[in-house]
Amino acid sequence: MPLLEIRDLCKHYGGVEALKSLSFDVERGEFFGLLGPNGAGKSTTINILLGLILPDSGAIRVFDQDFATQQVEIRRRMNVAAAFTSLSGVLTVRENLRVYGHIYGVRNLNAKIDELLERFEITDLAQRRLQYLSSGQHTRVTLCKGLINDPDLLLLDECTLGLDPDIAEKTRRALQQFQREKQTTVLFTSHNMNEVEELCGRIAFLSRGEILRIDTAARIKSLIPHQVVEVKFRPGTDLSALRQMDGMLRAEPSGDSTLRFVLDDPERQLDSLLRRLTQAGGYIADVQITRPTLEDVFIKVARGEI
């Protein structure tokens, strides 16, 4: 039984279709990514799951309960950390966390706050007012708030935005550790492709309010079937002759003494390509294979090429 079931979720804003019959499941304990360009419908989906936006139609079941009718009860077991939101600026970090601790009915609240502050390495900020924190510190406080009730379902919307690479890495480690310890189900959105690939077991790739594909990062990358092979030849090699070989489609120069080939089926074509280049008099110095990244898929989706 999936922990989260979304069926035929639709949402219009005026004449714009933000979500077009969106359906997907998230299993218990899964780290699930929502990926897609701006306007794909990621935030709308998350905001509907938080009860902040009402959908036009569709059904949501969380913890095997109907979200529309059991929303308040369900939200007690959920939480969110969204980078672009804030807590009360005039309150200190500890006061803000106490507020949400009470709202979620957390027991041993002081101990829980101490544990979270330590987990995200911001214990020294406990008595500082939120309005005086840097954006990176602020983001980590928001994460502490998101974990205050040990949620069964955690929604993370761009939650590492504004963190420097070192802190972002520590934050990802802390989130992963928390998720493993508590077996929390996480719904995660980010524009950082490496982050999504590193953290998420499965990813739903959204475009214009529809799910393009739900799969692992490796399989989503296969939406771009071809790979780029760059072959560097020893100096003096006649590249023009190599480019005019029969069947050598889409070969193009790429710097001095280098040719770039786009292979649709690299596993079958690479061996044949290299053999033919050698036979044609090319002395190969180096071969580099560039596989498509999640970012390549993202860009192609954003440009409507997929």
Binding site: S43, L87, V90, V99, H102
Partner: protein, 274 residues
């Protein structure tokens, strides 16, 4: 998608405690939120105190000062109650906390209970301060009205203040921060129609039609009766209570409608809402 209205009328003590704690922290950390407990009420008391002192020298009525000061002190409670609802909700809009607040399991009822509790405390502080000041400056002793009368007047004015505050909060959710000025100004708009300093009968007929549907009118009519006779008039107070109850139910339903519209149009996720 089906939606059950009753969900927003559940209430847990821990959530109310959390919200009261938040509002209390905001008050303690913010000088202007402490200052506004007394600032406008004191201005009003001074204005009407000096005016009534002057009028009493030219009037045959010996109770002019009591009428004016009693009105000024009690009106400040209504104004305090209605503006507290609006401004405490606006705090969350200003700090962009509205997203996290409404994504949490907090219900409308819990929110209003918490604002009511902190508002009650602020109103009582305001009442005590003004009463002492009125006695010190004008030897006006509000306690002469009697404990029961003060409790009844205060309760009715606080309740109706919250009703007006809830309506303003609903309008803020529906139309955004561009109408935030209502949180402070509605009290001033309602004052001329509430018979705070003059009897209902002294107003033009068309104004009476408006005034008679405001619970505040009946409270202040009751206040003047209590000052003049030393007795509590039950009828205007029951009228005020009945009107307040009806308007409270209507205000809560209107708030739910406005909140639902805000969610339908995605306004809770657009923090500026201007």
């Amino acid at each position: 998608m089906r939606y059950r209205l009753h969900q927003d009328f559940t209430c847990t003590a821990s959530a109310v405690r959390g919200l009261v704690y938040k509002f209390a922290c905001i008050c303690f950390h913010s000088l202007d939120r402490i200052f506004d407990i007394v600032y406008w009420p004191v201005i009003s008391l001074l204005l009407w105190g000096f005016t009534s002192t002057f009028v009493s020298t030219t009037s045959s009525s010996s109770q002019v000062i009591e009428f004016f000061l009693g009105g000024a002190v009690l009106w400040s409670l209504f104004w305090r109650a209605q503006s507290d609802v609006g401004t405490f909700i606006l705090e969350d809009f200003w700090s962009r906390n509205i997203y996290n607040l409404f994504a949490s399991p907090v219900t409308s009822l819990e929110l209003f209970c918490a604002i009511g509790l902190i508002g009650l405390l602020r109103c009582l502080l305001s009442l005590v301060f003004l009463s002492l000041l009125a006695w010190f400056l004008y030897t006006f002793n509000i306690l002469l009205l009697g404990g029961i009368a003060i409790a009844v007047f205060t309760t009715e004015l606080l309740l109706f203040g919250w009703v007006v505050g809830i309506v303003i909060a609903a309008l803020i959710f529906r139309y955004g921060l561009r109408i935030q000025v209502l949180a402070w100004s509605v009290g001033f708009i309602m004052q001329p129609f509430s018979c705070v300093f003059y009897p209902l009968a002294s107003m033009p007929r068309w104004v009476q039609v408006i005034a008679v549907i405001l619970p505040t009118t009946h409270v202040f009519e009751g206040l003047r009766h209590a000052i003049a006779t030393g007795e509590l008039a039950v009828r205007p107070l029951l009228t005020a209570l009945g009107l307040t109850f009806v308007l409270l139910v209507a205000a809560l339903l209107f708030f739910q409608y406005a909140l639902r519209q805000a969610k339908k149009h995605g306004l809770l996720t657009r923090f500026e809402m201007a």
